[in-house]
Amino acid sequence: MGAPDNGEKDARLGRRHFLKGAALGGVVAAAAPVVRAQTEESSPGEGHVSVDASLPRPAGPQARSQESTPRDQSATYSSCGGDYMVDVLRSLGIEYFAATPGNTFMGLHEAVINYGMLTQPNLRFITTMHEEASVAMAHGYAKIEGKPMACMMHTTVGLQHGAMAIYNAYADRVPIFMMVGHSLDATRRSGAVDWLHAATDGPAMVRDFTKWDDTPGSLRHFGESAVRAFRFSMTPPYGPTLLAVDTLMQEDEIPGGVRAAPTVPKLSRLAPPAGEEGAVKEAARLLVSAEHPVICADRVARTSAGLGLLVQLAETLQAPVCDTFNRMNFPWRHPLHQSRRQRALLGEADVVLALEPGDPFGLFNQANRGARKITISSVELAPKGNYQDLQRYASGVDLAMAADAEATLPMLIEEVKRQLPAGRKSALEARGKAFAEAHRDEMETAKEMAANGWDDSPISVPRLCMELYEQIKGEDWSMVSGAAFQSHLPQALWTADKHYQYIGAQGAAGIGYMAPASLGAALANQKHGRLSVSIVGDGDLMFGPGILWTAAHERIPLLYIVHNNRSYHMEIMQLQVIANRRQRGIDRVRIGCNIDDPNINYAAMAKSMGVYGEGPIENPRDLGPALKRAIAVVKKGEPALVDVVSQGR
């Protein structure tokens, strides 16, 4: 995509001429079109390109007829900055624009619904009920689709709502194209609320945990900044970027008319940063010579290619892979998948390769003190100090590559193959067989663990996971939620080998992510025809239950399973520790943590917003049939929710 071709331009012109004609034929013809008048003073005629759109607005003292005035709602015009912005977004391949409406970005809102949604390539407006939901939806979408979607908020009240979701995305290294409506010209704000929705430097409040931000001063500046924002967002480490977009620049006529619109800038082909050749050779030397190498994978597989590359490296070395499950890095039933043995394996490791480690401190604390430690981490390319103080206490690392792991893997694999002596083949095969046996043992252990309490009520979490798997295992499924609160039982019991089958969790462990991020991921899966399923906590869902209405309104097929343990369960466990250390007993720790008295009927809540609901399911024998009915709804293209009254973990 790029600048609209002539045909598209003509189509736009046609629409605008129609608008212009309609407007001029009405009563507004008599009113003074302030914006047009300003333009026409420097632009003698319609369509005459004499105004440079890159020029900033006139500044300093001006004649009364020229200076900024309050918005004239009767003024009409046939081109607008918002349409240009839509063209820029589409040129970046952005398909969706999520927002809870706000008066600082009505200009772009109108352009999306009346121009972006009605012309190709389609830019669809997704209506959310909270700015945190907009950002989290974009978070989940990017983890499936591998590219950003757009979301927009007010500068002040909206950005503050969205801040937690932005921090999650930043910590999770996920690209999001964010914009805020930014009322720059104080003389043209409309009234009291406009003062409250304006800030001198709006992006400042989230600058610590956005990768880059800018406040464009012209449409040409917007175009250039949008491309930069996209590039920064999509260069590892990925992250959310933010443009503060002047409200009037969105609303006003393009200075000089549509023919004077700036060119839509071209997006360069992006190349991620790979490791330095000498460092890669040294890493390969250490790995090849190791007797007990361990590969630790965190946010490695940005794409499906990353998963395949990690498999190649592990198989070449016959080295175990321990996965944090922040991404779908490695097939769950691959014999070299040894995540549940991480502590033991690191304890005897002689070389540890940590790929994009999120917690090198915790990781290397488990490692044998004599182990040589290698890191490949893109976070070291874009460090920030105030939040997410990553890489701290990783001082024992022997070789630290500031590079993207996925981009480095092809070189590393080739170098390992080149250095691997032919005589090591039988030893590596024996190593691999031992790991395959250990994987089978772990699987048997997990199965027996899952059998415990199989028929219990509240329903055991393994039973919940297995009843779900039983329904989806024959489908092209995608788990669009994390699984930490389910003890990563899907990873222990299910078979998954496709990148889109799991997306990991929040990033910054901020609750309120799962329900909206799942919906964003389901939105991405929709066009691929995948069956999206999400296990969402009751506490998480209640942070923003309005997401259920968005699911129904936008007709996004997704199965929500509410892991309803009627509490903020993690906090209960932590509070128990504190209360007992003070020897005051734990019989009151339910206060502030339990979500009961009254119990919430999630199925009824879902139904009230147009989502198919089942539950509360308390008898485990009822769960399978309920899931089957709900999945039938999802396969028809609608969302569904099943409320499962469950054990804590």
Partner: protein, 136 residues
Amino acid sequence: MTDTSPNAPPRAARRACWVSAALLSIIPAVAFAADKPANMARGRQLYMATGCYQCHGTRGEGGGNAGPRLAPGPLPLEGFTLQLRHPRARMPVYTAVVMPDGDVADIYAYLLTVPKGKTAAEIPMLKSLATGPSSK
């Protein structure tokens, strides 16, 4: 007993309990209330009231990474008590102030009554799971 690290195998936590039990040979025996027989029904109430179920499940079946299985077939009472009084990992400490020996005995009596459940081999959904390598 309550290491919640996603990578901490429940087996390791159970191993810690067995090690603790072995230590009993070199430490003083824990005193237990002997003035009345253990009360299973009261033990069930205490098990729920004192929050054991939060990490170990409502019938001691275990709570994934949060807490290992306690029943059926709990540890010997001495080892069980030692873990309460001097817990490993992130389990809350239960001193005699917050859980007297009599309460411990009642809870233990309840755990002894939990019947043996199905094995994985008796559950078709689990039995049929693939244990071998995936396609990639």
